[in-house]
């Protein structure tokens, strides 16, 4: 075989491989990074809520004490535009499930005064926790906000949502978790 066609064939092969790699890459959301935390016990945290407890005292939340209930942990921040868009969805889901599912919003790299003003204007339905030093975010492997983790009754992370959550998807997941035993 002559060299010219062979070189052309070799070049086309390399280009074909590159095109295949790029085509495969473009089919994935670059922000959708699979979490190695799914299927593992949720890292415990003890954090203070912005909202006081029912008796007016300081409200401290310890995640490991929530076992027996599915838990939704939503990392968000006031400076995050998608967080504004998904807030109403989370409020609706939390109201749908009442006290059967425990919801917590973990505020990430933000200012307390900004958080309060933000929640006052957009509504609140569950405790908002301050993630000091982003330690909880690091333990959960949070890359950015919003990221939402759904934890089952045994304290195992069952799903992670990157970006705004979908009402139907989260509701269906929680309904399934509620049917599971502890």
């Amino acid at each position: 075989m002559k060299r010219g066609p062979m070189i052309l064939l070799g070049g086309l092969s390399v280009v074909a491989v590159l095109v295949a790699v790029l085509a495969s890459g473009f089919q994935h959301d670059p922000h959708e990074i699979a979490s190695p935390m799914i299927g593992k016990p949720a890292p415990d945290f003890t954090l203070k809520a912005i909202e006081p407890a029912a008796d007016g005292s300081e409200q401290i939340v310890k995640l490991s004490l929530q076992k027996g209930h599915p838990v939704v942990v939503n990392f968000w921040a006031t400076w995050c535009i998608p967080c504004q868009q998904e807030h109403s969805t989370l409020l609706a889901i939390s109201r749908e499930f009442g006290g059967a599912v425990h919801f917590f919003g973990l505020v990430y790299q933000d200012k307390p005064e900004a958080i309060d003003a933000w929640l006052n204007s957009r509504g609140r339905a569950y405790p908002t926790l301050i993630d000091v030093g982003s330690q909880a975010a690091i333990a959960f492997g949070v890359y950015g906000v919003p990221e939402t983790f759904v934890i089952d009754k045994k304290g195992v992370i069952r799903q992670k949502f990157t970006g705004g959550v979908d009402y139907d998807e989260v509701s269906a997941l929680l309904a399934g978790l509620l049917k599971e035993g502890t």
């Binding site: 203070k48 995050c80 301050i130 030093g133 890359y143 906000v145």
Partner: protein
């Protein structure tokens, strides 16, 4: 269409404080850890994650002073800043990187070794958090691929050069009238075949 898709992806999830104008600038100083803005210091309890269930108890001695600073720098330089483009945690001034750097410092101070710290962050973030992928499995392609391509390229070049050295095939004279052939040969002898 592609621009729309890109815009959708970019707005769907905000990398932590990625909008910081200097998020990509290297500021590899320890003071960045110490003086990092603590927006939510207050008196709120910290999450105080415990890496022991994941990596076991600290395998090294507790560190402090210069040794702690060096260990923090060494470990942080191997971790990818989650909100930057190709920057290590050690080299990024972003809030996320500073928070991770502070966590590295906390772990190293307790005696967790470099390997334990890397394993701890890998357990929550995945292998992507390592700036340099481990040379195993499919990752070997990343390590061996460039070398293999280089060898392949050199082989192609060598093959082409050697191919050019082959002696040219003996040239056959174009068919001519047999009666004129002696004259044609004389002409070739005078002007040379290369000019024919």
């Amino acid at each position: 269409m592609n621009i729309l898709l890109l815009a959708t992806l970019l707005t769907a999830h905000s990398p932590a404080r990625a909008e910081e104008p200097n998020a990509g600038s290297p500021v590899p100083t320890r003071s960045a850890v110490a003086s990092a803005p603590q927006d939510m210091t207050a008196d709120a309890p910290a999450a105080s994650s415990d890496p022991t269930p994941i990596v076991g108890p600290p395998a090294g001695p507790p560190l402090s002073g210069k040794a702690l600073e060096d260990a923090t720098r060494t470990i942080a330089s191997q971790l990818r800043c989650p909100v930057c483009q190709g920057l290590s945690v050690a080299d990024s001034p972003s809030e996320s990187a500073v928070a991770i750097k502070r966590e590295v410092e906390r772990l190293a101070a307790q005696g967790y070794t470099e390997a334990q710290c890397l394993l701890y962050f890998e357990a929550s973030y995945g292998e992507f958090i390592r700036l340099e992928p481990k040379a195993e499995g499919l990752n070997l392609l990343v390590w061996a691929g460039p070398g293999a391509l280089l060898v392949f390229g050199l082989g192609v070049i060598a093959w082409m050069r050697l191919g050019n050295r082959k002696p040219p095939a003996p040239r056959t004279l174009p068919p001519v009238d047999p009666a004129l052939e002696p004259f044609v040969r004389q002409v070739y002898a005078v002007v040379g075949e290369g000019q024919s």
